[in-house]
């Protein structure tokens, strides 16, 4: 985590809203985004797992990012999107409420995470980035997708 926070070089963050929180993921980690919402529920799965879906023949686990981050469960709306990331040889989808834009900046400008950002669990973030308008929380995808209960 610490080392990651000390990354350098250019940074492109794909930003999105989870509830009212603006978060971003390093665009290099994102495989694709899609709006396919048809998924199969998996009974007995952890609560933050929405289900699994078929992404061109691969099984993708869909995670409710809101719930995982300690917010209210996300609702499926018109603007909901699934961000597919690749983590440890596995495709995982993150359900977010709304995609905004891509912010280009530098890793050096990412500041350490305040202990508590809008009620989110701090350990899931690599830091925060101040943009002209807003404050973007940079998501630590691997930490979010770690399979411990959270």
């Amino acid at each position: 985590m610490k080392q990651q926070a000390e990354k350098t070089g250019p940074l492109q963050l794909s930003c999105f809203y989870v509830g009212s929180a603006l978060c971003g993921i390093d665009i290099n980690l994102i495989q694709e985004m899609n709006r396919q919402m048809e998924m199969t529920k998996v009974p007995q799965a952890p609560s933050y797992v929405l289900g699994i879906m078929n992404l061109r023949g691969r099984i993708v686990t869909i995670i409710d990012l809101g719930r995982k981050l300690g917010l209210a469960p996300s609702k499926m709306t018109e603007t909901s999107r699934i961000i597919i990331v690749n983590s440890r040889d596995e495709n995982i989808g993150l359900l977010v409420d709304r995609i905004t834009d891509v912010v280009t900046d530098k890793w050096e400008h990412v500041e350490p995470t305040p202990s508590n950002i809008k009620g989110l669990k701090g350990r899931y973030f690599q830091g925060v980035l101040k943009t002209a308008r807003d404050l973007v929380a940079v998501l630590d995808v691997e930490e979010v997708l770690a399979d411990d209960q959270g």
Binding site: P43, V49, I52, R58, I59, T61
Partner: protein, 1057 residues
């Protein structure tokens, strides 16, 4: 010099193919010893030969050299000049290993270090030769072409060997352009042709002869020189080889040896004899020491133009076996790196028929696409649909067929083990017989590949640590030859691979000791472990069983690596061991990535797949038969299937699906429990549906899974679930259905566990059900609840006494007022352990504990114990003498374990004496109130219970006579009508049961007032009613001592008055 990639690739493939079976062939050769199977030797010889030939052609000098040396040895074996004893075969095997490594890493083969192999092989050949021949092994002869250029340098020995066979020697000059390419041949064709008529001694492509463009002599030829020995005379040669006679140069060797050879010989002869001998010795010792090996051997090998006497090779005075172990060392050192290269070939063999299927499917796909394009362009909706369906069909078939190409037999990995085991056995001085079973079991390619290393490790372990040396085995009364069985088979939708040895087994104490010293487990944990758990400790990372690692196997790789490798494949590994008897390691591999036939079922909107291997049968129970086919046993529903009782599980309940109020589960429940009938339910707004059941089995589980609907059976492609589902027990994976939906694949065993069909539960329920279903009253069997005090101390209490069993964590135990208690169902439950009242081992109060709850004198009390627990019904002989002590009524052998039968009354009396104080005074009052001691008749068929009950009644101050069944009891009563004041009787007995006895007693006026107390394990309301009807005064649950004594007391008082 490198040829183009394609040719090289071809060569590598062909060479690998040649090498494929060599190991086993060589092992066979070794086994037959002096009595050689010429055909087999020839086969190996040809393999070495082809490899050598190709290598020469491709300019792979080192491979060629090594191949050539191997060939020499094999040739001598073939000619019966050399006995293929284990020594020789070993050298050849090692050389082949090296050869294989070099071929796999063909690009680096020129850098490979082969000198010690060459030396060992040379030693093997020369060791068995006579003096003159011996010398010839190392002597080099130069072969020149027509223009006097030196083309080859060969060992004189080779030429001599050749000549011995009566062969003529030729130097052939092929032209790769005109003789090979233009004639549409391959170099392999030519070599094959020559092989059939003679022996290719050496060959090489002469690029220098090509010249450069500036040269006048630019020949437009790429000459390939072949040194060829054949019995064919030189006049036939051109026709045979399709080669101009000017390119065939017959060589006269022996009558007029090449001057160079003479020179070499002269040089040799001029070397003094004595220093030569010294030289040999020092050389040998150098080799042995491994010091300057390369240098020493290198100079010895370059003996053709020996510049100094130092390099002159010397005939060895006698065979020296010393140098032989050298390559073994080498092999071990470099064994690791190339191994992995072999384990993962980039090519895959696929059956041609499968390929043809794929071709057909691809063709069909193209056709369908054309159809679709056409339909789209003409906007014909119906045609588009048709084409779409077709494409759908073809693609899924295509997908499946492609998946099939990935299946490989485990034989691919199994077959390398005879060699591994042989080598190990040799090195360790053991005799080991390796048996392979289930070679043709197929697994996915990725699994096969990943399995190689862990399996090798496990087999090596078995051979190294498991099997004892022959003398030790004989001492232990086992055959000197140890056996390792390696087998693969399908079970419950998985592939199981077992490695079974009959060796010494694991020293679990040592493992535990080690784990303790490394701090991997706590002493408390160690105490509570079963043998199996202890054995499985070796899979813990950081637990190197270094003490057991011999110098031979010092690999430094722990079993944890094996386990993590297998984990990656989704496999499970389990170890069972018995000291002195052997070890069984069982690897369960899932069928991930495999295609499996499955049954589709659905609950609510979701579909699920059940692997067909787990499906026994499908049942549909019509609404009106539900009450007949499904029974209640305890609170569980059980299906009656052809006389068998099968527990039922509702998929919707197990998975926690929120179903509507009218699910099958609630419907059946209402019908069976609620006493409602179908009509009432229908009025309540429920739609009545037939119950659909899949009878499934997996391992020891067998149950009926209730689903909403049964669908088709389809072949599905198993896809693994993501890591977030690793806690979910119920699934084996997921699959994508034809419509693109994802369906979960159910794991039948996992669901069984989820549904709390613990194995004991199943058995217990089965036993109970069987008991109820059985109307025959054979009650000689004893139902026991078996638990452990410590892992080694098996204990049991009569099952009927057990009120409940709870699993708790040791931390829940509180010490309050000097007593141990736990919070339990809103109250406080006193708990105690066996060691508080009896002399048993101290119970370790950590981790998971079992609380066995007893109802005693109106109070609940819990006995602490260790899992696992089991409920058994068994015919046991209780030994009430050997291990008798306060709190222990005796012992019995259950299964294979001596089990203490716990006397729960004495125990609780010892622990909670105050509970019993009240009754003590009753006894006094009783004695005072009666003139004589009351005389009781106890009727009970089970020896165990009879003795138990009798004992505590007697302890209470009564006189007790006993009878085994109703008939005996009646005859006793009839004989002495005045004697007995009260009858205590069991209900279920042979010959005459309790009801009949009570009836008989009541019908006799003499006994109209005698109280009858019935003892039973099943005090159902029905029974009580029936008992009352026949005159039984009171019912007591068997062995509830306090209640029984109280009741006896009360009835005696009433009787007396």
């Amino acid at each position: 010099m490198m040829m183009d990639d394609e040719t090289l690739q071809m060569y590598v493939e062909e060479a690998t193919e040649h090498l494929g079976d060599i190991e086993n062939d060589l092992l066979a050769i070794e086994q037959s010893g002096a009595d050689i199977d010429v055909e087999l030797v020839n086969k190996v010889f040809r393999a070495a030969h082809s490899i050598k030939g190709g290598a020469g052609f491709l300019g792979l000098i080192k491979i060629k050299d090594l191949g050539h040396k191997i060939e020499n040895v094999l040739d001598m074996v073939r000619n019966r000049e050399l006995v293929p004893d284990p020594e020789v075969v070993n050298i050849v095997l090692l050389a082949f290993d090296k050869l294989r490594d070099m071929i796999v890493n063909v690009a680096q083969s020129e850098d490979a270090y082969i000198d010690d192999h060459i030396a060992a092989l040379t030693a093997a050949t020369s060791a068995n030769l006579k003096g003159e021949e011996k010398a010839s092994v190392d002597r080099r002869v130069e072969i020149k072409d027509g223009r006097g250029r030196v083309v080859f340098e060969v060992a004189e020995f080779d030429l001599l060997q050749n000549r011995k066979g009566g062969k003529n020697l030729y130097l052939l000059e092929f032209d790769l352009i005109h003789d090979v390419q233009r004639k549409d041949k391959t170099i392999f064709d030519i070599l094959k042709c020559m092989d059939s008529t003679g022996v290719v001694l050496d060959l090489k492509v002469d690029f220098e002869a090509v010249g450069t463009l500036e040269d006048d002599g630019f020949s437009n030829r790429i000459p390939l020189f072949v040194l060829f020995g054949s019995i064919i005379e030189d006049d036939i040669m051109p026709a045979l080889l399709d080669l101009g006679s000017e390119f065939i140069l017959p060589l006269k060797f022996e009558p007029a040896p090449a001057p160079e050879a003479d020179f070499a010989r002269e040089l040799l002869e001029s070397t003094p004899a004595a220093p030569e001998e010294d030289r040999t010795d020092s050389l040998v010792s150098e080799i042995f020491n491994g010091a300057n090996l390369a240098e020493a051997l290198g100079s010895a090998g370059a003996a053709a133009t020996p510049p100094a006497p130092k390099a002159a090779p010397a005939p060895q005075p006698e065979p020296k076996p010393e140098p032989r172990p050298v390559p073994e060392e080498d092999r071990r050192n470099d064994a690791k790196a190339p191994k992995s290269a072999i384990a993962q070939p980039d090519t895959l063999r696929v059956h041609v028929s499968l390929l043809e299927d794929l071709m057909n499917l691809a063709g069909e796909l193209v056709l369908s696409r054309n159809q679709l394009m056409q339909a789209i362009s003409s906007a014909a909706l119906h045609q588009i649909e048709v084409a779409g369906q077709r494409i759908d069909l073809v693609t899924s078939e295509l997908q499946e067929t492609i998946m099939l190409t990935r299946m490989q037999t485990v034989g691919n990995i199994f077959n390398k083990f005879p060699r591994v085991v042989r080598d190990l056995a040799r090195n360790l001085g053991k005799e080991i017989d390796l048996q392979l079973e289930g070679n043709d079991v197929e697994l996915d390619k990725t699994i096969i590949e990943g399995l190689g290393d862990p399996l090798t490790h496990l087999v090596r372990n078995s051979a190294d640590h498991g099997i004892e040396p022959p003398d030790e085995r004989v001492l232990a009364g086992k055959p000197a030859m140890g056996t390792i069985v390696l087998k693969a088979y399908h079970e419950a939708g998985q592939v199981i691979i077992e490695i079974v040895d009959d060796g010494r087994g694991l020293n679990t104490d040592k493992i535990v000791e080690k784990a303790l010293s490394r701090g991997l487990i706590s002493p408390d944990q160690a105490k509570s472990m079963s043998d199996k758990e202890k054995a499985n400790l070796i899979f813990l990372p950081g637990l190197s069983t270094a003490e057991q690692v011999t110098d031979v196997s010092g690999r430094g790789v722990g079993m944890d690596v094996v386990k993590s490798n297998l984990d990656q494949l989704g496999g499970q590994v389990d170890i069972e061991t018995a000291r002195g008897k052997g070890t069984t390691i069982r690897i369960k591999l899932p069928l991930t990535l495999a295609i499996i036939p499955s049954l589709l079922v659905s609950v609510g909107q979701e579909r699920y797949a059940i692997p067909q291997v787990n499906v026994d049968e499908l049942l549909r129970i019509p609404v009106d038969q539900i009450t007949e086919r499904i029974e209640m046993v305890g609170d569980a529903e059980v299906l009656l299937l052809r006389g068998e009782l099968i527990p039922m599980l509702y998929l919707s309940n197990v998975l926690g699906l929120d179903g509507s109020a009218c699910t099958a589960s609630s419907m059946v429940g209402e019908l069976l429990r609620g006493g409602k009938n179908a009509g009432q339910l229908q009025e309540a707004g429920c739609t009545m549906a037939d119950v659909n059941l899949v009878v499934v089995s997996a391992g020891q589980f067998r149950y009926g899974l209730v689903v909403d609907q049964l669908h088709d059976s389809v072949e599905i492609v198993v896809k693994p679930l993501g890591r977030h589902f690793k806690e979910c027990q119920g699934y084996a994976g997921a699959t994508i259905m034809g419509d693109g939906h994802v369906a979960l694949i159910l794991d039948v065993a996992g669901l069984g566990r989820l549904g709390d069909l613990s194995l004991t539960g199943v058995r217990e329920r089965g036993a109970l059900a069987a008991k109820e279903a059985e109307t025959v009253k054979t009650q000689d069997k004893l139902s026991l609840f078996v638990f452990r005090n410590t892992p080694e101390e098996y204990c049991a209490v009569p099952l009927d006494l057990v009120a409940r069993v709870e699993l708790i964590d040791a931390r829940e135990i509180e010490e309050v007022g000097g007593r141990r208690v736990i919070k339990y169902r809103g109250g406080t439950l006193p708990v105690f352990s066996l060691d508080q009242a009896t002399t048993v081992q101290h119970l370790d109060l950590t981790g998971e504990l079992i609380v066995i709850v007893f109802l005693m004198a109106g109070h609940e009390i819990g006995l602490l114990a260790k899992p696992p627990v089991d409920a058994i019904e068994t015919e046991v002989i209780v030994d009430t003498f050997t291990l008798k002590q306060p709190g222990i009524s005796g012992s019995a052998v259950i299964g294979e374990n001596t089990t203490l039968i716990v006397d729960i009354y004495e125990l609780i009396q010892a622990v909670q004496p105050e509970w019993f104080a009240v009754r003590g005074s009753i006894e006094v009052a009783d004695d005072a109130g009666e003139v004589g001691v009351p005389h009781l008749l106890l009727v009970e068929d089970s020896d165990f219970f009879r003795n138990q009950v009798r004992k505590f009644i007697e302890d209470d101050g009564y006189t007790v006579d006993t009878a085994e069944d109703g008939l005996v009891a009646w005859s006793m009563l009839d004989a002495e009508p005045q004697k007995y004041d009260l009858v205590v009787t069991d209900i279920e007995m042979p010959n005459m049961d309790g009801f009949t006895l009570a009836q008989t007693i009541r019908q006799d006026k003499r006994f109209s007032l005698t109280p009858i107390i019935a003892l039973t394990s099943l005090a159902g309301d029905e029974d009580v009613a029936r008992g009352k009807a026949v005159g039984i005064d009171d019912y007591q649950v068997k062995l509830d001592k306090e209640r029984l004594l109280q009741t006896i007391y009360e009835w005696l008082k009433r009787y007396a008055s």
